[in-house]
């Protein structure tokens, strides 16, 4: 069930990671992705919401009721959070990547 979704695309992995610790709105996800990659990955609104659409359809994330964002202005925004499936997929993908890193370490590709 979980393995059929792997490997994830970079955009999907970054969004899942951004939502791993808390629910976020679109701009919040973009900023978190930028922060967790030291500014190397910058997602535009089109790429972000296209990925959100497909992730929501696949059941990785769910949309919450519109809430106001205390860090921004008074406009209400759509928040997203991980589902149980999304969290299990994120765990499986990070475990897969970690095992690849271990192989690379054994082969002295990374230190």
């Amino acid at each position: 069930m979980v393995s059929q979704h792997l490997p994830l695309t970079p955009a999907v992995l970054h969004i899942l990671l951004a939502l791993a610790d808390q629910k976020r709105h679109g701009y919040g996800i973009m900023k978190e992705v930028e922060r967790q990659t030291d500014g190397q990955t910058q997602m535009g609104p089109g790429t972000l919401y296209g990925s959100i659409k497909r992730m929501r359809k696949a059941g990785f994330i769910e949309e919450l009721d519109e809430l106001s964002a205390p860090d921004l202005d008074s406009r209400k925004r759509r928040y997203y959070q991980l589902t149980d499936l999304g969290r299990r997929i994120l765990q499986a993908e990070t475990a897969r990547l970690a095992s690849l890193v271990r192989i690379a370490q054994v082969k002295a590709v990374v230190v």
Partner: protein, 279 residues
Amino acid sequence: MKIQLSLWLYKRLLRLYPRSYRQEFGEPMTDTFADLCYEAQKLGTLMAFVGLWWQVMGDLAKSSLYEHIHLDMERNGMTKQAFFWWVVASTAGWVLGWSVGYPFDEPTLLPLGGILVSLLHVGVLQRWVFPAGWYKSALPLHLTGWLLAAIAMTIPSWGILSESALEGLTFLILFSACLITGFLQWLTFRPYLHKAKLWIIAPLIIFILSISLASSSNSFAVTNLANYISSGTLSWPTVHFTTFILFGILYGISTGGVLLMLTPNQKPSDWDIEELATP
């Protein structure tokens, strides 16, 4: 001022996305873009806005195209697999037509290829695109178009026209056959597809491709190119065969492209209505 102008422009550019996508995500996308604008404004330089627009334009171009393609495939349209087999069917049809009709020259070759391609296309449509099978009524009309072309193309063999007049007549016949075929198919597809008239474009693309492939009635541009590359060492059947493979691929890509535009615009069929009525 910069924010107002940017938002005004961004909202208009959102029209590049499919309508359903825009209805669902247009508002949050605009909100997110507004947040990015406020962030650029805090930096207080014009370059911050230029940088933002540079990133957003690339994102818009890439993601809007992707959403259109994704939507086409989502709506029971053509998949990549169907498109691939559509191109294979086109190529196989033309090459088979060439193999059988080669001794008889163009009057037999072109209609035979056209008929074989049509039959193979029906198989692809049935298997991957429209399982309901309504398009089958288009087949006899498509075949009629090619048979009319076949009859018309025997005229040059009567020997009553000069060579230059024959060349002009050949192109006119091909053009008319393409237009008639497209028109007949439009009539058939009209009850089922919202944008059926787009199908008239397909045969016209094929006609333009034919002209670009043939520098004159007996000398194909591809043939000349193949001869030039091989310094004249390739036999005539080999280069002719290559020409038809290329023609088949171009034919498949152009007609498949039109079909890709048409499939998301199916009108509800009786089957769909029954499905909707089922609780």
